[in-house]
């Protein structure tokens, strides 16, 4: 049974800022929804469906998508809310187009964590309520333990993590999509406040505000629009056990499973990608993702992380718009494939990763090709 392949037609993103205090959610969303059509020849009338990612908890509003339907351009269309990172919204969109009932879909993910007084509460409300919540277990504690084990097992030091973080912030500053006052060097990263030993604040991804939109279509439409379409050739996702203590030490099994699923559909391994855009909740989390994707052997993630093909955008450490981070990675990978820098070896294959949950409980992998 032949199903159409699905391509990315265009993307749009706001700047990612610690606080978009002059803009409401609807301002961020409508900005990218208006912009994403520019130069495509498509209009909102061509869009068959809208799928959005956001969090009721972060928004402080039940069924918050209902408040944003106008800004999303969803009036009288089919709309769905995936309460997970935007990469899962894209997954849903791909399925809808492949099923043949739709040709063009709009995927939107947004985040405004600056409106939350304490982002730890967002994570704390995610853990199991009877045994874990009362003892204060949450994202920072989990990431700290994850890092401690990794450091102990592989002889990695906090200075190594700091060097990685400094590299990511520098890349983000160069890219211009992330608002950065001053790029921290490794010493600054080490000197920032302790988050959860051995991690300092800057070794944990920085929550930022922002929105991202993406137009997906059948391959034939993407090609006819005359731009360089990128085709989504493989998708995989997997969720680990909720019990942090029962998860495998020093590996994210769900990343490996998702990578295997995506690779099987694409016909090549994520380790063969020319560029990788990965999400991570911490510096050590990023190393675990790279190892799960097969870009490095166990314990060797740092070598891959410091290579030129990983997170050219800066990744999630300097800018983590929770619920939108993975879709930002997909947009960044699309940009790298469709608008390669002159003179550089033009990349043709990308692997993209998104994550969700405490200590990266769930993971999603896309393969993208031009």
């Amino acid at each position: 049974m032949s199903m159409p392949r699905v391509g990315i037609v265009s993307t749009s993103m706001t700047q990612l800022r610690p606080a978009w205090d002059s803009a409401q959610h609807i301002d961020l969303i409508s900005a990218v929804v208006l912009d994403v059509f520019k130069g495509t020849g498509l209009t909102l009338d061509d869009v068959d469906f809208i799928i959005d990612s956001g969090s009721d908890v972060l928004d402080g509003r039940s069924i918050s998508n209902c408040g944003f339907l106008g800004a999303l351009g969803a009036h009288h269309k089919e709309e769905a809310r995936v309460e997970e990172d935007g990469l899962w919204a894209a997954l849903y969109g791909v399925n809808k187009i492949r099923a043949g009932s739709s040709s063009v879909g709009l995927i939107v993910a947004y985040s405004k964590p600056s409106e939350s007084r304490d982002i730890d509460l967002y994570w704390g409300s995610m853990v199991e309520p009877f045994y874990q919540r009362p003892v204060g277990f949450g994202q920072k504690a989990a990431l700290g333990m994850q890092a401690q084990r990794y450091f102990a097992a592989h002889g990695i030091k906090d200075t190594d993590a700091a060097a990685l973080v400094a590299r990511r912030w520098a890349a983000a500053a160069e890219g211009g999509q992330v608002a950065i006052d001053a790029v921290p060097d490794a010493d600054t990263v080490l000197a920032s406040a302790e988050a959860a030993a051995p991690l300092t604040d800057l070794m944990i991804s920085r929550p930022v505000d922002g929105a991202v939109a993406m137009l997906l279509s059948t391959e034939d439409i993407a090609v006819r629009l005359g731009r360089a379409p990128a085709i989504i050739t493989g998708i995989g996702t997997s969720m680990e056990t909720h019990a942090f203590s029962a998860r495998s030490a020093n590996q994210l099994e769900s990343v490996a499973k998702a990578a295997a699923m995506a690779g099987a559909k694409a016909g090549w391994k994520p380790s063969e990608a020319d560029v990788a855009e990965v999400s991570a909740s911490s510096a050590v989390g990023e190393l675990l993702v790279l190892e799960g994707l097969g870009l490095a052997d166990a314990g060797k993630g740092l070598d891959a992380a410091m290579s030129d093909k990983v997170n050219r955008s800066g990744g999630a450490l300097p800018a983590d718009p929770l619920m939108a981070t993975g879709l930002v990675r997909l947009a960044e990978a699309y940009r790298q494939l469709s608008q390669p820098h002159p003179g550089a070896d033009a990349p043709r294959r990308a692997v993209v990763h998104g994550t969700g949950g405490v200590a990266m409980q769930t993971n999603c992998v896309f393969t993208l090709e031009v």
Partner: protein, 383 residues
């Protein structure tokens, strides 16, 4: 084109006002175990899982699928949660449908639930309203719903009795529903004399608040036969919206439901819904909404829903029985209701409904909705 998708296994909990014996995760497990047993499958044979719940504030666990995953043994699988207020279960089924139709999976488990005894329902619903312009007068969803009914009374001359007939019909039907927990026959007089909550809405126009879960197994045409010789095939399914504060919003007809119905009927070859459907399952959050849906779904001409219910046509022995299960009046675990309605519709066309099997039912219409009365969808099922 995509794969054909059928419902091959169903399971729901015995819903109740308050399940103190299980956690949210335990509640979900009950429904999942029943659906898997019904489909003659183990979790190993399920490719992907979709979890659906009402708003997170209903029960105060953020992204609860990440906790629930362990209770249902779905660790390692593709698990994602879809939410859409009262229509969450239906929206989850739609996401699952596309996972199978789009070739992402061969078998997908969709489980939807709400454990409303654990939260402050109307408070949570009040947070739907715009934080700057709406919360000053936000009082849950009831005042908003009363406006819909009042508009019918003013414009169409519909009466409180018309909606009361819906409540009487559904409450009577739910007595035979083994999963319902409100089983008491009432009269139109009882409804009219019940305590006014937000006029014209009165206590007996309102369904209960429930704890409950419901699960379905979806399978493609290649593997469906492993579970049943008579799947309920999804011939069309859609779920549309209208923008939040659109001032031109109609209070008479649900425009998103009419749009969804048009699309679904075209896919399913439905040209005369009143004659072609053998049975209908609707999600009626208040009695008056069932009247609105009769018209939005084309079961009667616009403005004639009061006459339709008064004629008896939507009774069990009428020509277009609506909610033989009792609908929400028997049990109302909000986020699960969309899947419950699909289960009741599916078992009708599979010939094994446990409440009131409509004899010879071949084609069923299922409706669900949520959000701010602005997300509405429907599906057509047939064996």
């Amino acid at each position: 084109m995509g794969r054909e998708v059928g419902i091959v296994g169903v399971g729901q909990t015995h819903h109740s006002r308050r399940r103190t014996d299980v956690s949210q995760a335990g509640l979900v497990r009950e429904a999942v175990n029943r659906a898997l047993a019904d489909a003659k499958l183990s979790m190993d044979e399920i490719d992907t899982v979709v979890v659906a719940t009402g708003p997170v504030l209903f029960a105060a666990v953020n992204q609860p699928e990440k906790w629930v995953v362990d209770a249902i043994g779905a660790q390692g699988k593709s698990v994602v949660r879809v939410t859409s207020g009262g229509g969450a279960g239906f929206a989850g089924a739609l996401a699952g449908y596309y996972q199978v139709a789009g070739g992402y999976s061969e078998r997908t488990l969709v489980v939807a639930y709400d454990k409303l005894s654990e939260g402050q329902l109307q408070y949570s619903i009040s947070t739907l309203y715009d934080p700057f312009w709406g919360r000053e007068f936000a009082v849950g969803i009831m005042g908003f719903s009363a406006a819909y009914w009042r508009a019918r009374m003013d414009v169409l001359g519909h009466t409180e009795e018309a909606a009361a007939m819906v409540s009487v019909k559904n409450r009577k039907n739910s007595i035979a529903n083994p999963y319902a927990h409100v089983k008491k026959e009432v009269t139109v007089e009882d409804v009219l004399n019940s305590k006014p909550l937000c006029w014209p809405i009165k206590l007996l126009d309102v369904p209960p608040i429930s704890d409950g879960a419901a699960a379905i197994v979806l399978a493609n045409d290649k593997v469906a036969h492993h579970s049943t010789t008579r799947p309920a095939w999804i011939r069309g399914i859609a779920y549309c919206c209208e923008a939040d504060n659109a001032p031109e919003r109609s209070l008479m007809l649900s425009e998103p439901l009419a749009i969804a119905a048009k699309r679904v009927y075209r896919a399913a070859g439905i040209t005369n819904p009143r004659r072609q459907f053998d049975v209908v399952e609707l999600q009626e959050p208040y009695s008056c909404f069932e009247l609105n849906y009769y018209e939005s779904l084309g079961l009667c001409p616009p403005g004639e829903a009061a006459e339709l219910v008064a004629s008896g046509a939507t009774q069990l022995d009428g020509d277009i029985p609506v909610n033989p299960s009792g609908g929400c009046m028997g049990a109302n675990p909000i986020g699960a209701v969309g899947v419950i309605r699909l289960i009741e519709g599916a078992t009708q066309v599979m010939g094994r409904n446990e409440s009131h099997q409509i004899k010879g039912a071949k084609t069923a219409l299922v409706q669900s909705g949520g959000g701010w009365a602005n997300l509405r969808g429907c599906a057509v099922l047939s064996a």
